[in-house]
Amino acid sequence: MDYPYLSAFRSQMDFCGKCGDCALAVELTTAKKHINKPCVIKNVLGFEAYDARGRILILKRLLDGTLQLNQEIIDWAYTCLLCGNCQETCLALDNGIDLPSMMEAFRRDLIENGKYSPSGKPFEILEKTLTHHNPYGEPHDQRFHFILSENFPPHADILLFVGCTAAYRQQNIALSAYKILKKANIDFTILKDEKCCGSVLLRYGFHDKVKVLAEELMEQIQKSGIKTVVFPCAGCYRTFKIDYPKLIEMPKDIKFIHFSEYLEKLVKEGKYHFRFDSQTRISYHDPCHLGRAAGVFEAPRFLINSINNANLIELETRRNYSHCCGAGGGVKSCFPEISLKVGQNRIIEAAQNNINYLVSTCPFCKTNLSQSLNGQNFKVLDLTELLSQTLDESLTGTIIQKESSFVTHELTQNYITYLSQHPEIFSDLVPGSVLEFTIYDSIDAFEDEKPPTGAFHVVRLENEIEIHPGLADNSDLQLALSEGAVRELVLSKTKKEYSLKFGAFYNDPEEEYWIDFLLHKRTKTLLKMGYGKFAEEAGILDEDEDLDSLDDRVKII
């Protein structure tokens, strides 16, 4: 059998140095990244064949004929969650070795050669989706029976794209999203004839079928004159935002955003007030589709932080290194028992935080994590459900933004002002670079990952810089500074003086004056992006003479 789609990745496979990080890396040995054994399938099944290193070896051997395709291998192809945690961990290439795409390509080769997985699930789900417009095989005309009693306008600027799982299996998510939007009198509607976006079919390898679905859906959305499509489902969102543009030409005048991003904006406008009556501990599970795939990390955290009496306790693996819930990549339908084992491991991870709620922003994550609870005494909720149940009906117009202290902090404001007056500091960074600044009252606070006293991020555009309050979704690196260091830096009269101080605080840190970095991309990538030159200009690389003269200068200050 030929593998035309997989063959396209053959040269990329050679970049795998077989180091094994994709399965076994942990936090302290990886520049403090929040990684812990990223391959959740390997963590459950144990054998090398299930992590990226082993999978690449198997795929290479299939391509060179050392290994012949058999039924076991077809089955194995559907054991990958396509979660992308291995790719995120991999440092071999700028964006890591793209194992998820390799596995998808392999599946596509299998599908197009009529190689059925023993469970027959992919073809069963294809048939259900094409016949009933949802992968569950539920009647299409019953899709919105639970909500159609509400009056939806025939035309609106905002479309709530509910998605199959929220429509048929997690209706409370759809109802909660509806309630929240109604509360702020948002002019929105739904597509009464909404059909499956094809997310799961893509993961199975039915790309051609999904292309047709995408064209039909986009035509339907364009005809309705909608300007913004809002998704409570991370899977649908990723499909529209990331996958469709690779299949069809997307309209430029329609925005596609996740519900959490849309709501973040409304909360910042003061449209909501959320409240728990007592202190409540919450952990947030980053869905792979929303986080790693689409780069949305901050909006859900902002919303949880905006709930009065809510305490966000981060999970051990989080953000771009978050462990998958176990439901993705078609594994849930092909191997439900594996999905549950993966989910149970994530639940155990969450239970360490002694929480009241584990919250996600994906109906599929919610389903699998709920089913994996195994008697733990916390609840699994979607963020829409959490916000809906904490919506304070009696109050409006009060903005509770704990993170707002990041920018109201006077020292942070001063630093932002200083940097805005000296944009040349960032002139060596390539456009698109995102540099996060965090300010701490002690080195212990930084090392213990306590919230900074101030945070903002600088985005390098083509001809300017933009400074945004708060943490960034996907920064290249986090710059951490002591309050003392910032106080001294903003007094600098010249760039040279700024650089000398900056270099001294980094190279010769003291209790009150220190600067540190956390790299979110591999060093080599950062150097390519201009951070090396930035570091040089910032005084991190310096000659003896400069260092000597700097010591005097710092003493005077």
Binding site: F15, K18, G20, V26, A31, F47, E48, L57, L93, D542
Partner: protein, 480 residues
């Protein structure tokens, strides 16, 4: 392949026997799983085992060894297989590969004696991570592939890596081992020789009472037994740290500084980038700012107290100046120390790596680098899309690693690369170098040069401890 010629019945009988010992989920004979174990992180073509087993404890391993012996099967114990010498690749057929990575527990931490006892399959990364929660660490922190590399794997292959400048290589840090022998019996070495001892006192010294049995199994490449537990020395996490990089325009000056630092035990780690090309590859920022530099040494100092670390740094600065070194920042030393097991991966985009890792006296390093440059000049490396990095790590006392690695971007140039790779290894081993790990990488070069009396002695040890050559047959070309 012997197993392929077996009757289905005989094969099923073996499967059933293994399953009885470890359970159905912990072994496999599925071809795709076997092929995923065919290679390690070296460029050598692989060879799948016939069974892969994930043992959970020492007792299971003992039973598996007895089962293998009674069925004429061999045993290949492996860890994370991140080694780059081809040491864990099966050489023969009819083999059961023991993937020990599920035996990854910390058995005990003894804060009185300052040791940690671990199952052999724990990765260095996980060990460091877990010890840090107790404000403790190991001296040798693991090889560069320590995210996947296991303690057992490192002890079998003499690995060198992070922390080696002050603490030596992996094997220098061992107090005791638990080993399963070819007949399935289990021994503990060092002070574990007594039949009965209170658990808290069983592993506190390596050298006592008898000769050093621990050392017999260190660096054996899995040929003498299966190491199932190890007791290592531990230390409190340092309160004070200091970093500094020095640039040089001559490798001779840099080597003199390295030698001085090691003689006087001034640093925790000292790592060298040995030529302009290497600086450009791994620390391009320095290359841009200081194009005249030909060598950089990154220095890491960890001490109980920050003032001591600062004072040592001052001494290093003063000495570096005497050897014409220039303080240039902290990029290399911080990248080396803080990225730990994430340092080398960014080099993978240069192409697959062909290493020549070995040990040598520090004073022989300049000559090696000059001769290496001559070799590279002869073969026109860059136009042939072959890149390289030359680095070295001060090790234990006054010797160092020689890490010269070639990177092949264009697979069609592999024959040329193989030629250069071979000549480089000849050059290194003929000029005062000795491999620390052997594997397929060095075995032929080593066996050509080994003193016959030495080889005969280790052959006798092999035949005494493993008379039927159950363990990793083919390695070191031992003959029964």
């Amino acid at each position: 392949m012997i197993l392929e010629s077996m009757t289905q019945l005989a094969l099923e009988k073996i499967s059933t026997g293994i399953e009885k010992i470890v359970g159905p989920e912990n072994y496999s004979k599925a071809k795709y799983i076997l092929h995923s174990y065919a290679e390690d992180a070296s460029p050598f073509p692989g060879n799948p085992p016939d069974f892969v087993v994930l043992p959970q404890n020492t007792n299971e391993i003992s039973q598996l060894i007895q089962f293998a012996a009674s069925h004429n099967l061999s045993i290949i114990p492996v860890g994370g297989r991140s080694g780059i010498s081809g040491a864990s690749i099966p050489r023969t057929h009819s083999s059961i590969m023991l993937d020990l990575t599920r035996m990854n527990k910390i058995i005990s931490i003894d804060k009185e004696i300052m040791t940690v006892t671990v199952q052999a399959g724990i990765t260095w990364a996980e060990l460091i991570h877990k010890l840090a929660k107790e404000d403790l660490t190991v001296g040798f922190r693991g090889p560069y592939g320590g995210n996947a590399g296991t303690v057992g794997g490192s002890l079998s292959s003499n690995s060198i890596g992070i922390g080696a400048s002050a603490y030596g290589g992996a094997c220098d840090n061992v107090v005791s081992l638990e080993v399963v022998l070819a007949d399935g019996s289990i021994i503990e070495t060092g002070s574990g020789w007594k039949k009965e001892l209170p658990e808290t006192l069983s592993h506190f010294t390596r050298y006592c009472t008898f000769n050093d049995l621990t050392g017999i199994f260190l660096g054996d490449h899995g040929t003498l037994g299966v190491k199932t537990q190890a007791t290592l020395k531990i230390y409190p996490i340092a309160e004070g740290t200091a970093f500094i990089d020095f640039g040089f325009t001559s490798i001779e000056d840099c080597s003199k500084l390295l030698h001085y630092l090691q003689v006087h035990k001034l640093v925790t780690e000292a790592v060298i980038l040995g030529d302009t090309n290497s600086i450009e590859l791994l620390a391009s920022t320095y290359h841009d700012k200081y194009p005249q530099l030909t060598t950089i040494v990154g220095i890491i100092i960890e001490e109980y107290d920050q003032d001591i670390a600062n004072r040592k740094k001052e001494i290093c600065e003063k000495k570096a100046k005497q050897f014409n070194g220039k303080s240039i920042g902290t990029f290399l030393s911080k990248a080396h120390w803080l990225n730990k097991f994430n340092l080398v991966q960014s080099l993978f985009e240069e192409g697959f790596w062909y290493n020549t890792c070995h040990l040598r006296p520090i004073n022989t390093l300049p000559n090696l680098i000059h001769q290496t440059h001559e070799l590279f000049k002869k073969y026109d490396m860059k136009p042939n899309e072959i890149n390289w990095i030359i680095s070295a790590l001060a090790t234990d006392r006054c010797y160092c690693t020689g890490w010269i690695t070639l990177f092949l971007k264009d697979p069609t140039k592999r024959p040329l690369l193989e030629k250069i790779w071979h000549e480089l290894r000849e050059l290194e081993i003929s000029n005062n170098g000795v491999p620390y790990w052997t594997g397929l990488l060095w075995e032929d070069y080593v066996l050509q040069r080994v003193n016959p009396a030495f080889y005969e002695t280790i052959q006798k040890i092999k035949n005494a401890l493993d008379p039927y050559h159950i363990f990793h047959p083919g390695v070191f070309k031992f003959e029964r």
